[in-house]
């Protein structure tokens, strides 16, 4: 099953670069960044973090919206800001980050040694149990590591996997791919959009595409409730009057060359389309947000057991897989809603990898650490606080004359503000000389009604290189108020 057919049996393959390290981390998303940093902080001398993309940050680089970091940093950060912070922390700890390098597989060293009597000089204390093979423009590398943390993230479930009937025209994209095209590559998939699946990424893209001038016709969800956070139902769908059809499916894709329409149908209790409920929605783009799947190709090469249903790596409470010395964290282990918890988990995985090397005690992961957020439809007649992912359902109690349902004081303030003048943090991109996009945000919340107009205004400006995260790149007029627009990532040539 694993892709080991290219493997030569010789211990030293000519032309291959050999290196060593104590802890090797695969994937530099929030999980891998935190793991690498904490492994270093826990005393590992040489920690190598390998990332196939040309920069660290993982999926967060394309999540330009805010809502990250509340738990971990007690701050409202956007994805790129959160990623940059995690990267700076990791680099400050003295890890080595290798980008543009694709890990192909992990082999256990002792097997190789058993097969070949090659005597191999060991560096100081730890026996280097694993050999990680990776490829980059610099060549093919084999890196020996004492312990490994796998933080390879996830991929999206596709149209092919869920087998939507119909034709196969251009114009069907997954939500993450759409996000990447729109937020990073400055490419717009289409103008009339239907979104299938009400996961958070799908809802966030409904808002993003609306703000960039597309008409989002509907969100279709097979379950009776939206799949994502209530906060996103409120701030991504309700704010933009995007209808959501629950207990519905996309029953057919129509269009010979480019998508022309989708047929949707209502589902009965056994999730079967009900005959006679079909209706057509004309659209040129279908965005799928139908689930994330842990990305575990690399893990499989090491013989790590995966959960047959979720495809996530199976670990014990110490985040260790069935292969001793190989740890797992983040979405590659189990899909998580919040980057903050991924970082926390990565930290533990990195620390435990060092404990494994030193033979000291490992810490346990608290699985309950992930689920305190309101999901599905907001309750009737409440304000969903969108300040943080908890999504408190705040209600005004007429008798007591106060707000209730909010877990912190800011919820009441938000709800009051929402009554008189709803405001949101604006997040979008602006052009940079040379054609790239720079993610930006407003320094303070702006009037909700004015968001689309302000985003359009910002679309017209071009920012000069080089920009640092936090730099003010423009000012906008929100009624009487002048609001600063700040870069949320570094940008240079």
């Amino acid at each position: 099953m694993s892709e080991t057919k290219n493997r030569t049996n010789e211990y030293e393959t000519r032309g291959v670069v050999h290196e060593t390290c104590d802890v090797l981390v695969v994937g530099a998303g929030p999980g891998g960044l935190a793991a690498a940093k904490s492994a270093r902080d826990a005393g590992a001398e040489h920690v190598l973090l390998i990332e196939r993309d040309d920069r660290a940050g993982g999926i967060l680089n394309q999540c330009i919206h805010d809502g990250f970091g509340i738990v971990r940093y007690r701050k409202q950060l956007t994805g790129p800001e959160y990623a940059l912070r995690a990267e700076q922390e990791a680099e400050a700890s003295g890890i080595e980050l290798l980008t543009g390098c694709h890990v192909l597989r992990i082999d256990a060293q002792d097997e190789r040694e058993r097969a070949h009597t090659h005597v191999h000089a060991r560096t100081h204390t730890s026996a280097r149990a694993y050999v990680v093979t990776a490829v980059s423009a610099d060549g093919l590398k084999q890196i020996e590591a004492g312990a490994v943390v796998i933080a390879t993230g996830c991929r999206e479930r596709t149209r092919g996997a869920i087998a939507i009937p119909g034709s196969r025209p251009a114009g069907v994209f997954t939500a993450g791919v759409t996000q990447n095209f729109v937020n990073i590559r400055n490419i717009m998939p289409g103008k009339k959009v239907v979104i299938f699946g009400s996961g958070d990424v799908g809802m966030i893209m409904a808002r993003r595409l609306s703000l960039e001038g597309a008409k989002v016709e509907a969100v279709i969800e097979i379950f009776p409730q939206p799949a994502g956070l209530s906060r996103n139902v409120s701030q991504c769908l309700y704010d933009y009057q995007i209808p959501i059809f629950c207990s519905h499916t996309v029953s057919k894709i129509i269009g010979k060359k480019r998508l022309e329409a989708v047929e949707i149908s209502e589902l009965d209790e056994s999730m079967q389309p009900i005959k006679g409920t079909e209706r057509l929605i004309a659209c040129d783009t279908l965005v799928l947000s139908v689930g994330l799947i842990p990305e575990n190709e690399v893990a499989q090469t090491a013989g790590i057991k995966l959960d047959a249903r979720t495809n996530g790596m199976i670990t014990d409470e110490y985040l260790q897989t069935n292969v001793p010395g190989i740890f797992a964290c983040g979405n590659a282990r189990r899909i998580m809603d919040l980057a903050d918890f991924v970082s926390e988990q990565g930290e533990l995985a990195g620390r435990n990898a060092v404990a494994y090397l030193n033979g000291t005690e490992m810490g346990e992961w608290d699985e309950a650490r992930t689920s305190s957020m309101a999901k599905g439809f907001p309750e009737e007649g409440v304000v969903t606080c969108t300040l943080c992912p908890t999504g408190c359902q705040v209600r005004y109690n007429e008798v007591l004359g106060e707000y209730e349902g909010n877990k912190c004081k800011r919820g009441a303030v938000f709800a009051e503000q929402e009554r008189v003048d709803p405001r949101r943090i604006l997040t979008t991109t602006v052009k940079v000389t040379g054609g790239k996009l720079l993610p930006v945000r407003s320094a303070e919340p702006v009037s909700k009604q004015k968001l689309p107009q302000l985003v359009q205004e910002l679309s017209k400006i071009t920012v000069e290189l080089s920009v640092k995260c936090g730099d003010i790149v423009a000012e906008i007029q929100d009624g009487e108020k002048t609001v600063a627009i700040v870069a949320t990532a570094d940008c240079s040539l």
């Binding site: 032309g15 490829v135 996997a161 997954t174 400055n186 490419i187 060359k257 679309s459």
Partner: protein, 494 residues
């Protein structure tokens, strides 16, 4: 208007094989294809099996050309560097009726000249294809699988190298006659002027109709008989490569009478993905490539009977192909290929009803066409005909040592663009720079095999688009999935 000895309509497996065969001779040849690339028709939507020839009626062209095609296939694939794997094939019986059917089919195969056919019991079946259901079967050692996209592309590229002209995005919409009267060119040999929707006009002496599902229309356009083609759709599922080891060879059910195909079967592809299908359903339009819920459910159930280890989670995609049948629905089964110069329309060489085993038979079909032309005019062999073609490097198939060496020569071999199939940047570049100038995502997909894996291009599409936009100056709104009309994007965001 340009003048040619031969105009070939259609760059499917048949048209490309004819082009390549005729390119051995001193002839002026042009291929007109409405899609943006080769293999845009049926030839890119089938089971990709090199059939042995036991399914077809003894004495038929189908039987004869299939057996002949099978014998030469491996050598051709070596010559043109086309992925090919001699897997053998198993026909599975579930009951006595099936066993009898296998007896019959084996006898038929022997009469057709197929080699090595034999009946196997359940024990041997378990050895040949572990985990496959059934009480017994028939084994065909000569059956193989190949890459149908690269098959067409390789034939076309080799024909191009040998002087054939290809015009893609050129849809034939009219064919005119009687050059002599119209243009008063007494000595012109031209019999046809072929016109395309794009405004092209091509005069020729021989018109070779390799238009697959449209071959009936083309014949009529050219003044030949109006053959009725009955489109019969076959739907497929594609499985993840993780299921590769479940199936060493194509596994078919024993033949049942009256169906328009070979029954739902399981086929390994040269790339390692198993395909399940096809169904057989007569439809009204020649271009309705939809998949449908009832058929998809049926496919899965039938395939699961053949391979109990099959699971839904292995599915990564689906597609459909359409058989250009001469047999109407009420008749079912197969009618033989029509391959002839039409008596009342000299110069029109029709290839009609080229359904399965049309790809296997395509080179012998091409030789028949050459034979027909050779009877009408002397054919002079080129001295400088280049028979061999080298396909681009496939990084994933090399040893680590070779990989390391390649990266040293060209660092783009070190940049993985398609994570599922391990396709490198250099391979994408080679695909983009193909000699036909086909820049669609499908053209890149079939050449480099990117976007074909379990993430359906989620990872590599963004990177391929980056290359097209930033390195080749293609505007986002000009990028198409296939031919014009299948634009992927509406443009820039800002």
């Amino acid at each position: 208007m340009t003048k040619h000895d031969v105009v070939i309509i259609g760059a499917g497996g048949v048209g490309c094989a004819v082009a390549r065969e005729l390119s051995r001779y001193n002839l002026n040849i042009i291929v007109l294809e409405k899609e943006c690339d080769a293999a845009g028709g049926i030839s890119g939507r089938n089971s990709a099996v090199v059939h042995a020839g036991f399914n077809n009626a003894p004495g038929s062209l189908m039987a004869k050309l299939c057996v002949e095609g099978n014998r030469g296939f491996e050598a051709l694939c070596r010559e043109l560097d086309i992925p090919y794997k001699k897997t053998g094939k198993l026909l599975v019986a579930f009951d006595e009726t099936d066993m009898n059917a296998l007896q019959e089919i084996m006898q038929q195969g022997i009469r057709n000249g197929c080699e090595g056919l034999r009946l196997v019991d359940a024990d041997e079946m378990e050895k040949l294809a572990p985990g496959i259901g059934g009480i017994g079967g028939m084994y065909s050692p000569e059956t193989a699988v190949f890459d149908p996209f690269l098959y067409c592309i390789a034939l076309a590229e080799n024909a191009l190298e040998n002087g054939v002209t290809f015009h893609f995005n050129s849809e034939v919409v009219a064919i005119e006659h009687d050059m002599i009267e119209e243009h008063g060119e007494e000595h012109s040999d031209d019999r046809f002027v072929v016109k395309t929707a794009e405004g092209g006009a091509y005069a020729c002496r021989f018109l070779i109709n390799c238009a697959g599902l449209s071959s009936g229309n083309i014949s009529e356009m050219a003044g030949g008989p109006a053959y009725q083609i009955y489109p019969c759709r076959g739907e497929y599922f594609i499985l993840d490569k993780v299921a590769e080891e479940l199936l060493p060879m194509p596994v078919y059910p024993a033949p049942r009478k009256g169906i328009g195909g070979l029954g739902v079967h399981l086929t390994p592809t040269t790339a390692g993905n198993i395909i399940i299908g096809p169904s057989a359903e007569y439809i009204s339009q020649i271009d309705d490539l939809s998949t449908t819920r009832p058929v998809m459910d049926e496919l899965f159930a039938k395939a699961k009977a053949l391979m109990p280890a099959l699971e839904r989670k292995y599915i990564i995609g689906s597609y459909a192909g359409i058989r250009p049948k001469l047999a109407p629905p009420e008749e079912g089964g197969y009618r033989d290929f029509i391959i002839q110069e039409e008596a009342d329309c000299p110069g029109l060489i029709n290839l009609i009803g080229i359904e399965s085993p049309g790809l296997t038979a395509s080179v012998p079909i091409a030789r028949m066409v050459r034979g027909i032309i050779g009877e009408r005019m002397p054919l002079e062999e080129k001295k400088d005909f280049v028979a061999k073609r080298k396909g681009p490097i496939r990084f994933r198939d090399l040893s680590e040592e070779e990989q390391a060496e390649l990266i040293r020569e060209d660092s783009e071999f070190g940049e993985i663009i398609c994570r599922c199939q391990k396709v490198t940047k250099r391979e994408i570049r080679n695909a983009i720079e193909n000699p036909f100038g086909a820049r669609s995502i499908s053209a890149i997909k079939y050449r480099a095999w990117a976007t074909t894996g379990r993430c359906n291009g989620g990872y590599c599409l963004t990177r391929i688009v980056d290359m097209l936009v930033n390195e080749y100056g293609v505007k986002p709104e000009e990028i198409t999935y296939r031919s014009t009309g299948s634009e992927l994007f509406s443009g820039k965001v800002k």
